[in-house]
Symmetry: C2
Subunit: 461 residues, 2 copies
Amino acid sequence: MKFKSVGRKDAEHLESIVGPDRFSMGQSNLELHSKDQSYHPAVLPEAVIWPVNRTEVSEILRYANEQLVPVTGWGSGTSVEGNPIPVQRGLVLDFSMMNRIVEIRDADFQADVEPGVVYQDLNEKLRHRGLFFAPDPGARATIGGMLANNASGIRTVRYGSTRANTLRLTVVLASGEIIDMGSRSSKTSSGYDLINLFIGSEGTLGLVVQATVRLKGLCEEISAAIATFSDVEAAAGAVFEIKRSGIDPASLELLAQECVALMNKERGLGLAVLPTLFIEFHGAGKNQLQESVDMAREICQSCGCDHFMSGIERPARDNILRARYEMAETIMRNHPGCSHTVIDVAVPVSAYPELISLAREEALKSGIPGYVFGHAGDGNLHLILMGKTLDHAQRAIIDNVSNRLVIKAIQVGGTSTGEHGTGIGKRKFMETEHGASLEWMKKIKTLFDPNGILNPGKILP
Amino acid sequence: MKFKSVGRKDAEHLESIVGPDRFSMGQSNLELHSKDQSYHPAVLPEAVIWPVNRTEVSEILRYANEQLVPVTGWGSGTSVEGNPIPVQRGLVLDFSMMNRIVEIRDADFQADVEPGVVYQDLNEKLRHRGLFFAPDPGARATIGGMLANNASGIRTVRYGSTRANTLRLTVVLASGEIIDMGSRSSKTSSGYDLINLFIGSEGTLGLVVQATVRLKGLCEEISAAIATFSDVEAAAGAVFEIKRSGIDPASLELLAQECVALMNKERGLGLAVLPTLFIEFHGAGKNQLQESVDMAREICQSCGCDHFMSGIERPARDNILRARYEMAETIMRNHPGCSHTVIDVAVPVSAYPELISLAREEALKSGIPGYVFGHAGDGNLHLILMGKTLDHAQRAIIDNVSNRLVIKAIQVGGTSTGEHGTGIGKRKFMETEHGASLEWMKKIKTLFDPNGILNPGKILP
């Protein structure tokens, strides 16, 4: 596809849609929209535009589609697979001014939001109503970005990913057409399911301008426990047994010893520097939580747990959780002059111990500082490798480690990406992972975006 | 689209794919595949074929597609919206001989099954492993049929619909091409989500030949309670408060008094003939269940509950559940000479009391015996109306009641079908419900099935 640059006439037209304050070709704005939090190299767009409503988004896309100008949606740039980097330049459409919480319907456990709403801000608004939006990727992600990636997080093991927490979408297609899809009913068997096609499509099929998300009731009671093990495999084994027991934890996180050491250093947590499970329970009453904790303790002990600490109260729990959410940032801060690569794979839970072993072995062999952790309850593993910035030899080593882990994950029935999306880095695995259905993904792309203007260079190889 | 009849040459070719034992143009076989459990009139196919593997399915579809012979997939014919009635005649592809449980992977909470597996048979096999497949539509549905309809049931409020319990599909497209989609990992953000497009598409986009379904751990403890109210609205109000409390019941069923009366009569349950909530709790320990039951009691009492009976033990519970599962059959048996129409709508839970009132009012006004019940925890309502068979005046009244309830459901943000699918009867509401996105559903249909041979006359108006 031959795209067009944003010329003077294009700039004039685009500016006329939104007004001069919300269109920019200035260097600093281009730089701010040139890269996400990944290691992928920055690419400057040619212009940035900030629509405030769906009509503007529609007019922008209609024009860009006619003129063959690439358009890449932008949330808050916190993704880690290059998902919003405008690799074909063109226009970045920044949703930060479409950040209204349109309506909260307590009685239905639903909220209508614009894509620029940061999920923590929504949760701040919901707290006094006793509700929350469950997916929690950690960084200050926007809900638009979370939809684009099917983001998930620490509580996904209980509450599901962004996909599982979305009911309705309003989407602007490449042609400028605006369509609604889904239902406010919590269940439906009506027509074809379109919303799941758009969720996780990284803005390559259309741009979400409004979403109805599911909300959950904030738990009356929360309890947390920490279990330490002498080796990571034993910890991963306990994960399976906990899942099997029906306890239904709200988080089930694994942290290898190097991560615990860093958390101690940064936040003075004083945890034993051993492979650790962080387990959280949400419930309506104290007794049921105690029962869950007791069962988790028994299971961990039968799996060779060294120490099981339960009854961790709010301040300590919040401290640990914050340390976990900030893991990537903490690692980066501790390796100045390095770039971080997050390897994000997910596998059926039985293969998790094997994958964890492989990740640690690969990290060790690489000679590059590596950190293994993950949403163990979902079979999701992260390995962060801190290679020296612009060191091509280390980059090649990291790429090889990533390749081997991804191929292994796919071989055991898993996926090249559990939650970070395909973006730029995982495109090369799409054929291996999806086989013949990849051609149908391409046909769907062509159906919705025949000129290929929407976030070109992502997902499809 | 001009379809072709199954001629002698076609019959010879189709028979040559599967052998003479598994192809039939005999009247009794045609009749057995001419209607489901709905009120929609029977249409005889021209031939029935029973493939035993995906290669045969592929060869059959390739031939039918070339010859423009319509092909309708068949599970066990238990649907209630005419979903598998071969309205354009042609070929019915019966999956009953593709009923292997290919593999159960306990450790991953997954099973690979062929589409002809009846879900109760799978659960029978799983029981001694402590696992189960959660969606429970009640009738002896096949998993292929459940996938086609995105079926759900009594435990969906806790465990989700068929969609939420499916990880991977192998699908044969109209062209005969076989594609795999989805992942065995419990989470993924890789590529476009295709499986959700096929789930709920009623065999109009492709035919599922294998599925990987999620399994859940069987609960250690189950407890049930029955709450009776003096009016249906109060019962519906309690549903909302229970949902809000975070108790997370495993079922939350509403039964209007006429349903309770029938259950008493059929099974001697001796329940008070009043609007009733049946509430089930699943958990890992006795204490947590007791706590949930206590909270539910408090909530129901504060919502004006007349009587709350908890601690219902297994035999009584099973009896009530069986009566609930058999509701439709029981109603039919009690109205000889009548045909049953099940109205199946779902709404956001805040609109449930209003919808329940309207349903009862409409049933009363119609002068036709009506039964109101539903999966209240999901906002899903059923009204069964028993009109005299072939009584056109009553048919017209029922159609009008159905129209008013569906339009009301859509007006309050709900859906024309919560779980029975669009089939034949709900096609006329597709434009009202889906607006401009209906055109995109049609484009997707054309993309995957350009000749329109797959289950023509369903879903799309």
